[in-house]
């Protein structure tokens, strides 16, 4: 297992995956600093709530495409080189699927950790007045990491299934679109039916914009444990189905 794990990381060398992920993270850093730089002082005092709302929104736009790219890059070593047949004689087929997923999950862990670091750095830089509630940081991690993991699973399945990577990539762009618009869906089952919509479904901050004063006020909302439970169930079922499909795939 350790040997296969090392091999997976060797395959990622010189492929620039880390640089692209870093570029996306850099963009989120830029975007969030840009979003905070000219807001009224009163709003910046409640900066944590603002970031807990805005970063998931940015992630909704950027992550599906980034994850589609990540999954495609991880899988195209085998797909492009048509090396699956050879590889599957050397290692267990299911393990290959698991390790691809695990490698992608490592990138997502770093990305999410980076975002937590970004929130803390921004709080120090802008001197937020309202203190951080640690439980909200935990909710944030659960929200971003679990949804991203679900999208990664979907994209790995698609990237392995289709030799032509246009469909997985188009699914990523479509996911960004659907996810973005899911922020405008009213609460209900519709939102829970769309994987990319869980970034907004699991958001634990609500906002109120006053058109006369043009001031945005943020409030806490309860974390939607039901949606989180559904997402975990979808993840488990998706993993089982994806692995089964991969095992059945003719190489």
């Amino acid at each position: 297992m350790v040997r296969e794990w090392k091999v997976e990381w060797m395959k990622t060398r010189y492929r620039g995956i880390g640089w692209i992920v870093l570029a996306f993270f850099g963009l989120i850093v830029l975007w969030s600093f840009w979003a905070l730089h000219d807001i009224p002082r009163s709003q910046a005092e409640d900066g944590f709530r603002m970031l807990f709302m805005q970063i998931p929104l940015m992630d909704t736009i950027l992550m599906p495409t980034m994850i589609a790219m990540l999954a495609s890059r991880l899988c195209d070593a085998e797909v492009k080189g048509s090396t699956l047949k050879l590889l599957c004689t050397l290692e267990k087929k299911g393990r290959l699927f698991d390790l691809k997923l695990l490698t992608g999950a490592c990138y997502l862990t770093l990305f999410t950790a980076g975002q937590v670091g970004l929130i803390l750095a921004e709080s120090a830089f802008h001197s937020f007045v309202r203190p951080l509630e640690p439980v909200q940081l935990l909710y944030f991690v659960l929200q971003i990491y679990t949804v991203s993991l679900g999208i990664l699973l979907l994209q790995v399945i698609l990237s392995f299934h289709f030799e032509n990577q246009i469909l997985p990539l188009a699914a990523g762009i479509l996911g960004s679109f659907v996810g973005l618009f899911s922020w405008y869906f009213s609460d209900g089952m519709l939102k829970k039916c769309v994987l990319w919509g869980y970034y907004s479904e699991l958001c634990f901050i609500i906002m109120d914009w006053d058109p006369e004063t043009r001031i945005v006020t943020y409030y806490d909302a309860p974390f939607d444990w039901l949606a989180f439970g559904i997402l975990l169930a979808v993840l488990a079922a998706g993993y089982g189905a994806g692995r089964w499909l991969f095992l059945k795939k003719e190489v």
């Binding site: 963009l27 790219m69 990577q165 762009i173 479509l174 960004s176």
Partner: protein
Amino acid sequence: MLWKCIRMEQEKLRHSHLWLAFLVIPVIPAFMGGGNYLQNQGVLKAEWYSLWTQCSLFYSSFFYGPLIALYCAYIWRVEHLEHNWNRLMTMPVPVEDVFLSKLCLALGCTVFLQLWMWVLFTITGRVVGLDGIPPLEILLWLLRGSVGGMGIVALQLVLSMMIRSFAVPIALALLGSVLGLMLSNGGMGLFWPYSLMTMGMNASRSENVVKNMAGFGISVSLFFLLFTAAGIRYLKKKDIAS
């Protein structure tokens, strides 16, 4: 020769599922924009122009660029497969024509995308209860968006040609589009190719934001010529790795 190259490129695209992505993806911003319009009718009073602000908001800022990138990456995909670079470069065809034929197809695609968006916009407008057809000005904005997208087309072709991965240029286009949104809001849009398309489309605005048409035209032309020349030069000078 250029025309023959264009026909050859069209042949390569046959039986691809590319059209599906281009037909389906713009449907979402159009109809979701319509939904937003219905929800905010108290504030949105300018009928077709208000609907335009909702439909174009995310389409131009985040998705038009990656869709163009998807097309550009796809038309270089065949060359990156197996040893096709060798075959392409040994054909008795000037490399200018190879690049320009792909460029022509990609430019045609951006215009098609905008016209399809126009159809979807009109349908959405009728569905949400607007009368008549959209003002001609909005069609012109859409087509001006295609003009603004010319620099992106040339740039994405160069990136897709240089980067063997299918996915990375698309990711770069999304990054460029988000940066473009920030720069155009900061008044620096003329200096970044991805902003020009947003500005050209007059995205999420009901009044014309391109006051300086000459500046817009010069900027588009400069980026377009710069990236096209860079692409042709790369093909001429760089030794290929198949």
